[in-house]
Amino acid sequence: MRNLASLVLLLLAFAAPLSAQERSGPLRITITEGVIEPLPFAAPAFIAENPAAGEFARDIAQVIADDLAGTGLFRQIPAEAFISRITSFDAPVQYADWKAINAQALITGAVSAGTDGRMTVKFRVFDVFAQAQLGDGLQFGGSTGSWRRMAHKVADAVYSRITGEGAYFDSRVVFVAESGPKDARKKRLAIMDYDGANVQYLTDDRSIVLAPRFSPTGDRVLYTSYESGFPRIYEMNVASVTRRALDEQPGTMTFAPRFGPDGQAVVFSLSSGGNTDLYKLNLASGARQRLTSAPSIETAPSFSPDGSQIVFESDRSGNQQLYIMPSGGGEAQRISFGKGRYSTPVWSPRGDLIAFTKQYQGRFHIGVMRVDGSEERLLTSSFLDEGPTWSPNGRVIMFSRESQGAQGSSTLYSVDITGRNLKRVPTPGGASDPSWSPLQK
């Protein structure tokens, strides 16, 4: 019995601290379920600090609001709902007024324009419920002609501060502008802001152009043109609109070029004698290296962000699938094993995902998968979706979608990698084959 008693005593002694601990200290709760909805923000018209800035003040605030709301992550609160007005850039913020309309973020700013054609834009972001400023205020200077860029830069800063990830508003997209019916379509290179503004044409429509690709610095573009009668790769300087042909080899066709992360290496497909393989070209030295040598078709190469690997498509297994190999060539590993055909792989700037086009059961999808081929998920589905390109922050994918029928036309769309916020990117006419630039400096 004594043994039993001491055993009980022992056990109780153990239990004692447990219950004691349970009773003291702060209350602890764990929250694992939240909500996913756009964050409401208020962006009152910026303050015009002088008469010349008047026309920009409102427009800049609107572009910022459009940028943020366009991500699907934010929701703009209409100005009609505002209780208090921002009358001065440095005036105290009446948090209670903004809280009352549930504005969780508040963006205030001011614009001043000089007579010399230059202007400055400054802004601040506030976390209304925490009653604190988010980060420092910033000021941008530039010419009045580039007010949209300055607005995008402000939006970029706001986006980064609230979401914690890189932004993409101050970026551009090069694409193929299309016009005319399907059987006689005219194509030319065009460039625009990411939101469809400021469209410019880089080539005329005398020859067909395909698949433009931005350089890592955004100053040059590689594309394929049929100018000579055969597909051939050209490099264009975006600012000067000058171009040159790359790696001219008689009797061959070159296409599907893409820059390496250093801006000097270019990978592309070269077709000779009925066989298509991948090659790498050094723009500085002109040295060319063959990366694959298989009787199958290898094309659509894309570098990993660190430049160590290349993902591409090949039909070596019988139909189009995705493969990864070292950037210097070597054994390739297949990563796509789902049903259907995979093509146009593009490595995310973050390095964690690969976007691709998938054809399955008569429909096309834009999808993403991990670098090892796992966690494949399809983001879109339509008659014809293809040619994905990543936003600079790896959060959004732009692609071209073609509608069915003889009168069908191609347009650009963008979608969040969550599959949400699918929306059309406005372009003057038809558009296809987009390539997103890096964030501009």
Binding site: N3, L18, D127, L134, V241
Partner: protein
Amino acid sequence: MQTGTYISGAAHAALIAWVLFGGALQKKPAAPMPENMNVSVISAAELAAMSARQPDAPADAPAPPPVPPQENAPQAPAAEPPVKTTDAPSPKAPPAADASPDVTAIEPLPKAPSGETAPAAPPSPDTQTSARLVVKTPQPPQQQAAPRVAPKAAPAPPKDAQISDQAQKEVAPDPLAADKTPQKPKEAKAPAQAATEIVTEAEKPKAPLKSQRPKTRPSRPAAPKVAANPAKPPKPPAKSATDSAVAAALAATAPAPAAPSGPPLTGGEKDALRVAVQACWNVGSLSSEALATTVVVGVSMNRDGTPDAGSIRMLSSEGGSAAAAKQAYETARRAIIRCGAGGYNLPVEKYGRWQDIEMTFNPEKMRIK
């Protein structure tokens, strides 16, 4: 025989061990719950009185603990002319357009917008006082509820009473014959015509006011009693060794009572708090990295159930960079403040239990799939 005793002893020991470590004891609180869940009938008036209390809180501007001036001495204001990067040469090509947008200078502005902190001063009188009210009036709100309800109810009847002009004439004499209490008939007229609810609430609430909130658990106090027992040493000595051992062990648990006041929150009460915070935890705008970051946030609560915004702080984070943790924390902070603006539904009598709360925000389930 002894073999049987040993077997029996071993079996009992195992059973006791299982009871203690198997969680049976810890789940104890669950047992009393059903008993405590006794439905306490709340009259409409009580309910009205309780709900009437809420309007008070919102009326006060959410405690804006004036953020300490973070103003880093604004060094060089806009003085510095933007760094000029010559606009890229305009393209030779026809599309002159704005191929060369030049956005050059990027300068940090004088950090702390005078608006934030400095301004805090001017509006402070209002906001601060209101903030204090929030803090100091945790209990009052309930008491105030009655007076406010009453005054509102009072004016109502007269409006309706206007319908009967004759009655007013009688009303006038009332003050004269105040002592006679013939008022009853008059009151009867008013309620009959006016909105009955308001009148009845105004009268009845006085009683319910004292009973602040439905008592949810009378049973728990048992624990402290146990603690009290050990205080009586005389008993044990007479008992067997086992009893003394049990008593001694229980005595060891006794020190706890000094801790937080009131019985612990029930699972239901905790759940209610969790659900309330969840409703405002919007992770839609978080980066994928922040969505992989778990943060533990500490917050001190006011007695009226509102969080003390100034006390919210990040205790720890796990799974992401410092920047990601900061975003995750800010989102959590917004959730606590937003949904707590009207006061979380927490039992006042257990204030000691939830005065300080540690909330762990784990977005694992919210991650992009």
